[in-house]
């Protein structure tokens, strides 16, 4: 058994998928270079209002209440990819027949998804969830399913043996014959498949040749074309071209939310998650920027999803980051694969608040890198760790408060320089082993407390009185006192070959205060002959 999915008025449906509120309104799609744009598709309400196919934009604007939208190749590509994902969620054998047509082999799926009727219903529901209205047909042969999908509205299930009977009322147009053959058939008065199927084969062959016989076979539901499965690359991207440039971040959230939900639905259909989000934006007056700077700009395919191509190329050469005024690219890497549109939206919002685009937004491009979903084995006795989705949000929020560089895990660098570390991203580490009863006690008793240091960053300049080379009195900030004991100097130096080298004498000093002793690590910088307080023992 085969199923055929057909999306009528695909260019219009792709736009409605991006703006669902337009579904209830009269709407027409325009194509062509200004000022010669013409209506190529109009829905029923628009046709009633007077906006019919072929009108110029100026004429279509006369029709009252009709929403006019330019054809969007990006949205069509995204809708087509979403359609393929829906099909792949049901069957591994899927043929990408056309932008608006997808065929799939559903033979043998009864034990998983149920009867062909149920598969057709579920498939239709799945497609309507991604925002497309579909015509769907199931039949024993591929071409019958395809023609039934193109000819009948809603869901059509044709039992084996009834192909010819069910196809009878369809117009000859569904077979997509060559114009001259169509004209000939029309002149004979053959307008539906029943009439074509009943023509005597030999005279038909004499007049229309092999093509005539092929069309007759199709009209009788006797097609025998095999399915040619395609395995499209796993690109999960959505693009939206805005009618008016967006200047505020708040309305942008609505657009992003819709795009994220679409992408998450597509990933879910493929049983995948994502570990990286890429948000690209084309800002106002940014159209020529890429092509002017980038030598590979000639490789762009005109038309289909050009923004995505631009950003992909720009990403390769790290051009877009420097080009903040024209193209905008942000990338959010996730520590673990996730699939939660709300979390993604919040992360993008926080990132946009921290790094707002510098000009009004004209086009938005969103891409998710597919990854296998996170699999974790939890255990009753393992140490608790924060939930990754929640943790990501919290870290993003805290980064907005303290700064991205001030948040993470300290990693000590392999150098003799004191206080040398770098901050890397925090990700919960899985417990390697179960806590063993009594282990705590053993460790606690065996480990003596280590005296710790507290750093002053940057080190504090100090006034030091010395006697015989040893510090005897120290004053810095609100600390003033006699040095009751000291040890040093401990001379260290390093990286003399760079501008960042150091050479100093370190001292540990005990300074008598009113309530007790305070113990400090100090040093004398040999280059500037100045004293600094580096840390306090605590």
């Amino acid at each position: 058994m085969f199923a055929a999915i057909f999306i009528p008025d695909f260019a219009l449906e792709a736009i409605v998928r991006a703006e669902p509120l337009l579904r209830e309104r009269p709407m027409a799609v325009l194509e062509g270079a200004p000022p010669q744009e013409r209506v190529i598709i109009a829905n029923a309400k628009a046709q009633v209002a007077g906006a019919v196919v072929g009108l110029t934009k100026a004429e279509a604007e006369q029709a009252r209440g009709v929403v006019l939208r330019a054809r969007s190749r990006e949205q069509e590509a995204a809708a087509h990819a979403a359609l393929l994902d829906c099909a792949h969620a049901f069957s591994p054998r899927v043929e990408d027949a056309a932008a608006d047509t997808v065929l799939l082999d559903i033979a043998g799926l009864e034990r998983i998804f149920g009867t062909p009727q149920k598969i057709a219903r579920d498939l239709s529901r799945k497609i309507s969830e991604i925002g497309l209205e579909t015509q769907l047909a199931v039949a024993a042969n591929l071409e019958t399913a395809l023609h039934a999908a193109r000819g009948f509205a809603g869901i059509t299930v044709i039992p084996p043996g009834e192909e010819a009977l069910r196809l009878d009322p369809l117009s000859v147009d569904v077979l997509a014959p060559a114009p001259e053959i169509l004209q000939t058939l029309d002149s004979w008065g053959i307008r539906n498949l029943r009439a074509l199927a009943q023509l005597p084969p030999i005279p038909l062959s004499e007049r229309l040749g092999a093509e005539g016989l092929r069309l007759q076979k199709l009209a009788r539901g006797e097609g025998s074309r095999p399915l040619v499965p395609t395995d499209p690359p796993l690109h999960f991207e959505e693009a939206t071209e805005l009618e008016h440039p967006l200047e505020m971040l708040e309305p942008l959230a609505f657009v992003l939310n819709r795009m994220l939900e679409s992408l998450c639905a597509r990933l879910q259909a493929r049983a995948l998650a994502t570990n990286e989000l890429q948000l690209g934006m084309e800002l106002e007056n940014g159209d020529a920027v890429f092509s002017r700077f980038h030598p590979e700009s000639a490789k762009l395919t005109p038309g289909a999803n050009q923004t995505a191509q631009v950003l992909r190329l720009a990403q390769k050469t790290a051009l877009a980051q420097d080009d903040g005024h024209k193209n905008y690219l942000r990338s959010i890497r996730l520590p673990v694969p996730m699939l939660d549109a709300k979390v993604f939206l919040k992360l993008l919002q926080l990132d946009l608040e921290a790094h707002p685009p510098q000009a009004p937004i004209r086009k938005i491009f969103l891409q998710m890198e597919p990854a296998r979903p996170r699999q974790s084995q939890t255990g009753l006795f393992l140490a608790a760790s924060p939930e990754p989705e929640r943790l990501e949000l919290v870290l993003a929020r805290i980064a907005g408060v303290v700064g991205e560089k001030n948040l993470g895990v300290a990693e000590i660098l392999d150098t003799h320089r004191t206080d040398a570390f770098r901050i890397r991203r925090f990700a919960p580490v899985a417990s390697s082993q179960l806590p063993v009863a009594g282990k705590n006690k053993t460790n606690s008793s065996s480990r003596a407390s280590k005296l710790a240091m507290r750093r002053y960053r940057p080190p504090l300049r100090a006034h030091v009185l010395t006697h015989g080379g040893e510090p005897v009195r120290v004053s810095f900030l609100n600390v003033r006192g006699e040095v009751t004991a000291c040890a040093g100097p401990w001379r260290t130096s390093g990286e003399w070959w760079s501008n960042d080298g150091w050479s100093r004498d370190e001292w540990d000093v005990a300074v008598q205060q009113k309530n007790g002793l305070a113990l400090y690590r100090m040093y004398r910088d040999l280059a500037s002959e100045s004293w600094f307080v580096e840390a306090r023992y605590d």
Partner: protein, 269 residues
């Protein structure tokens, strides 16, 4: 009918329908986790999960009211006015690292350090046995907000997120005159946020700020310092060890605060 009778009637009618609502439920004793300082853990049993624990370094009597007689001959009480002084070496950070080493190393929990003054020394922590990969370090360096604002915002978010075994707020270098401005409501919010969770919230500070919100309050002070004689080789390692005294001044686990419980322990260099 007086109010007591009305109440008794209402309770009698509601008792069969909502038996648990009108019954006194004693709070379950909170689990305690060791800090790694054996003497301290023996005294207190460790720090409680689901509660705020305060470690502070100043003796309380600095803030106790003292009797005064004014120029008109009237007697009363006045608080000592203390200038913000530099914190001493009291052992707060040593205990903090010891507790972190226990949590991240032994129990393999994810922990957070909210560092108000960017004073955390990763090298000391590693030497103390802290697994740095499990420690989220939030450095509050006061760019957009003040340090204290950053600390409070970050702590709030982290406690709400949950899942951390230990959240440490280090206010040791924040002058008391600044930290005292934190409203008590903030500490109540923190207490409520950690209640019934597995998170132990530890606050290291110069004075006790959380007051009654703290489940355990411990005063730390330097008891003795053993310093290496200067005749020894001129290595900068001056300290041999420091003896730290810990006094439990508040414990919600006990019916009465253990005002006199005290323990000394040593931190070696």
């Amino acid at each position: 009918m007086d109010s007591a009778a009305v109440r008794a009637t209402v309770e009698a009618r509601l008792a069969p329908r909502f038996p648990n609502a009108l019954r006194f439920q004693a709070p379950a004793p909170s689990e305690k986790v060791p800090t790694g300082v054996v003497e301290f853990d023996r005294l207190t049993g460790g720090v409680p999960r689901g509660a705020v624990t305060e470690f502070f370094s100043r003796p309380l009597d600095v803030f106790s009211p003292r009797p005064v007689v004014n120029s008109l001959g009237r007697s009363g009480f006045a608080l000592k006015k203390e200038m913000d002084t530099a914190p001493l070496s009291s052992g707060c950070t040593s205990i903090m690292l010891s507790a972190l080493a226990e949590a991240t190393g032994t129990r393999q929990e994810s922990c957070v350090l909210v560092d108000a003054s960017d004073a955390f020394d990763p090298a000391s922590a590693e030497a103390a046995g802290v697994d740095l990969a499990r420690l989220l370090w939030v450095r509050c360096s006061g760019t957009k907000f003040s340090n204290l604002e950053q600390v409070l915002k970050a702590t709030d978010l982290l406690l709400q997120a949950g899942g951390f075994g230990m959240v440490i707020v280090d206010l040791n270098d924040v002058p008391p005159s600044v930290a005292r401005r934190v409203p008590l409501a903030t500490w109540f919010r923190f207490r409520r946020a950690v209640e019934n969770t597995n998170t132990a919230l530890l606050v290291f500070e110069q004075e006790p700020y959380a007051k009654s919100c703290a489940g355990l309050a411990v005063c730390l002070e330097q008891s003795a310092v053993s310093i290496q004689p200067s005749a020894q080789p001129s290595h900068t390692r001056l300290l041999r060890e420091m003896e730290i005294g810990a006094e439990v001044v508040r414990s919600s686990a006990e019916r009465k605060a253990i005002m006199s419980a005290r323990v000394n322990f040593k931190a070696t260099a």
